[in-house]
């Protein structure tokens, strides 16, 4: 009796088991309907000339896949995407670290107010932000040229167009890193810092030898989530440059959007999507491995 009672307690009461099962089945059903099935359909579709708008579904074999890997535009887009994602992530982390460290200082007052201001761009819809920045980048009337006293055509100069998209993205997203890193800093053990101070460590030494190593898991989390997010960027491109000038600012996801929703070439777009999916999956796998090694060490 006691054994049976223990078993019952470990698993929960009958009604709890039923409730758990309902929740789990609902979640599985949700993911199956909205993620798994569409992904399978897209994979199948990648082998077809597929335009659902005119019910076209003709088998092409691996032609779409061959088209992806032999497309100059695809490789340029992937190159742009890697450069963009890495640069945006690096700046996000550096800016986030700098500002969160500043906010963490005892000298700063009204920390909540600053946190709110820094986080506001993050919660503003990207489409609205992109339209505002389009005006800021205007070569004649835009604020940026007036502040810098420059004459740059940000969105139509191939040297600056991708940089313009980077500036917008960093401005919008640095607040996320600030908030996460600030939270991380508040959770760091105070006794380490006290000990370091007693040992005569200066501010920079404390930051470099204590704060940074202790924040490594948080930084790694931001890096991984940032890379995954930036590999899927397309709204700034759609609003600011439409991939131009020419095709200089095509990013992978914008290329997918262009193929699917402008050219209605869903089969080819599906093949592109899967290549991007595999790339991100490999990246995520490497990131988790690195993260696992760090945790172990």
């Amino acid at each position: 009796m006691a054994h049976r009672s223990n078993e019952k307690n470990a698993l929960g009461s009958r009604s709890e088991i039923i409730l758990r099962n309902i929740m789990v089945i609902s979640l599985i059903a949700f993911f199956t309907v909205f993620f798994v099935i569409p992904i399978i359909m897209a994979l199948v579709g990648s082998f077809f000339q597929w335009n659902p708008l005119k019910l076209q579904f003709n088998f092409l074999g691996i032609e779409n896949w061959k088209g992806v890997f032999t497309s100059e535009l695809f490789w340029r887009s992937m190159g742009n995407t890697i450069v963009f994602a890495v640069a945006a992530t690096v700046f996000r982390v550096i800016l986030g670290l700098a500002l969160s460290h500043a906010l963490y200082s005892r000298l700063i007052r009204h920390k909540t107010l600053y946190r709110t201001f820094y986080y506001l761009p993050t919660i503003t819809p990207m489409i609205a932000v992109a339209f505002v920045w389009k005006f800021i980048f205007d070569p004649q009337l835009g604020l940026l040229n007036k502040i810098l006293n420059s004459d740059i055509n940000w969105l139509f100069d191939d040297r600056y167009a991708l940089i313009a998209i980077l500036i917008l993205t960093i401005w919008k997203d640095f607040g996320y890193a600030v908030v996460i890193l600030l939270g991380g800093m508040y959770s760091l053990p105070k006794d380490c810092y006290e000990a370091a101070e007693i040992d005569g460590a200066g501010a920079w030494q404390r930051f470099w030898r204590l704060t940074l190593p202790l924040l490594k898991p948080t930084i790694l989390f931001i890096v991984i989530t940032s890379l995954i997010s930036y590999f899927q960027t397309y709204i700034p491109v759609m609003v600011l440059t439409q991939g131009g000038p020419g095709t200089q600012t095509y990013l992978a996801t914008y290329l997918i959007y262009d193929e699917a929703f402008v050219k209605y070439n869903f089969g080819y777009a599906s093949a592109l999507s899967f290549v991007l999916f595999l790339f991100i999956a490999v990246l995520t796998g490497i990131s988790f491995k690195v993260s696992g090694k760090n945790n172990a060490s």
Binding site: L53, F156, G243, Y264
Partner: protein, 476 residues
């Protein structure tokens, strides 16, 4: 209490999953649809007062006639949807009101979608039986829509007699839609800047050389810095470039319906545009990113725009005074064609809609085509040259500058056919490569040609250039 709450949460989640499944969306988009029921109040149409119930209404139209006294759907109540893209809600409401005034048993629900969403939502809606019975058409989306369209039940011969360009829309002896208005590239100029530069109507250029000289006169620099551009094409001139080739006798499409861009005509066109900036100094590539907007803002004296820009400028920049002149040509002699035109399309009928709804849609189309007042209203709203013959000399329409410029040479404008959007999209990319990325013209033309023809291979496009009245004058 906790268990009850958790059960309710789980049930709600399951309900939301069930609600999300179902047939392809035939409902209006999630962006606020402007569903508006037409009023049943009698509206003025040809007469200014509502007719008494027993009074017969006069028949409408010339070749295509409409009898407003003929009841529809046997007088029984019926509701249909008319889908359109954002931008002309009042226009379609006016049409719906006028039709409902004659047939109060018909309710026309107007459903508006933003332009980008419209072209994915409409074909998907047309696949089912719940889609709109009648819908707005743009010929750049012909390939995705034609499979869902029912032919007009108006005799083709009548359409050809009454509407310019109807012949080009015949498919297997039937017409599924045609043009109610024609639009082309037009030169817009700021009248105040024109006067300030000492120019008069006599200076309106006929040739490109004359145009370049005028543009130089209209260009103003202060301390070496450009403050007023004589002519700007920043922000996209692909719609205008695609058409300038005809001035050299060069068709846009070859006999096999493949696009032809890498030719002397197109090179001349592009080189001239480059020289206007580099040699004449009439503008710079970083002097604004939208020539139409910059024209309205008062920093550009001339730009090339299509007819619809007339109303865009009036609405967005009411203080800018402007006029139009016909696009210049290489020489004073009459060219093979001045440019191409594109049509504002008439409505499509959904062949998958229930028969009685299709009958109403066909009736609305006949009413729309026969009715000069409505045709004129639509042409004025879009600043397009009327395709309907009876309106060609309409004084009100000819007061619109972008319409008036077409009047003298309308038969010297060519319609290449329902050009798929890949043509303009890739020419836009090509021109940006040439102007901003300093790409070699020949290489850029070749790349664009290859990309477009790859896309055209998947589409059923047939060029209408052979149907042009002066097709025999084209370069071989």
């Amino acid at each position: 209490m906790k268990k009850i709450f958790s059960l309710v949460l789980a049930f709600t989640l399951m309900l939301s999953l069930a609600a999300c499944s179902g047939a392809p969306a035939s409902q209006p988009s999630s962006s606020a649809p402007a569903t508006q029921e037409s009023s049943s109040a009698p509206a003025t149409q040809e007469s200014s007062s509502a007719p008494a119930p027993s009074q017969e209404l006069p028949s409408i139209g010339n070749v295509i006639q409409y009898n407003p006294n003929q009841p529809v759907n046997d007088g029984k109540d019926i509701s249909i949807e008319l889908w359109y893209w954002t931008g002309a809600a009042n226009l379609f409401q006016s049409l719906a009101d006028k039709y409902a005034a004659i047939h109060p048993n018909v309710t026309i629900k107007l459903v508006e979608n933003p332009w980008e969403d419209y072209w994915t939502k409409l074909p998907l809606a047309l696949q089912g039986k719940d889609g709109p019975a009648i819908f707005n058409v743009h010929n750049s989306q012909h390939d995705n829509l034609i499979g869902y369209m029912a032919p007009y039940d108006i005799p083709v011969a009548d359409m050809e007699k009454e509407f310019v360009g109807a012949t080009g829309h015949i498919i297997d002896g039937k017409i599924y839609y045609t043009d109610y208005g024609l639009m082309t590239a037009t030169a817009y100029y700021n009248t105040k800047m024109w006067e300030a530069a000492g120019l008069t109507d006599k200076d309106i250029p006929k040739t490109w050389d004359q145009f370049r000289e005028i543009a130089k006169k209209l260009t103003i620099r202060k301390d070496g810095k450009l403050v007023q551009a004589g002519f700007s094409y920043n922000g996209g001139i692909q719609g205008d470039v695609l058409g300038m080739n005809y001035q050299y006798g060069q068709n846009l499409f070859a006999a096999d319906n493949k696009v032809s861009l890498n030719n002397e005509a197109m090179k001349n066109v592009i080189q001239r545009l480059k020289d206007m900036y580099a040699v004449d100094g009439v503008c710079e590539y970083n002097f604004g990113n939208n020539s139409g907007d910059n024209f309205g803002q008062g920093t550009v004296a001339m730009f090339l725009g299509w007819g619809f820009m007339t109303n865009v400028l009036k609405q967005n920049f009411p203080d800018t005074t402007f006029d139009c002149f016909e696009i210049p040509t290489p020489a004073e002699s009459v060219p093979y064609a001045y440019h191409r035109y594109n049509g504002e399309s008439t409505f499509g009928v959904n062949k998958n809609a229930p028969a009685e709804q299709q009958a109403i849609a066909q009736d609305i189309i006949r009413f729309f085509l026969a009715n000069d007042a409505i045709q004129k209203e639509f042409c004025l709203a879009n600043a397009v040259f009327p395709a309907k013959g009876t309106l060609k000399a309409d004084a009100d329409l000819l007061k619109v500058p972008s319409i008036a410029v077409l009047a003298d040479h309308i038969d010297r404008y060519i319609w290449p056919g329902p050009m798929p959007s890949t043509v303009e999209n890739n020419v836009k990319i090509m021109l940006e490569d040439i102007f901003y990325n300093k790409a070699d013209i020949t290489k850029a033309l070749t790349n664009a040609e290859t990309t477009i023809n790859k896309d055209l291979a998947n589409l059923k496009f047939t060029s209408q250039e052979p149907m042009y009245k002066y097709a025999s004058e084209a370069k071989k």
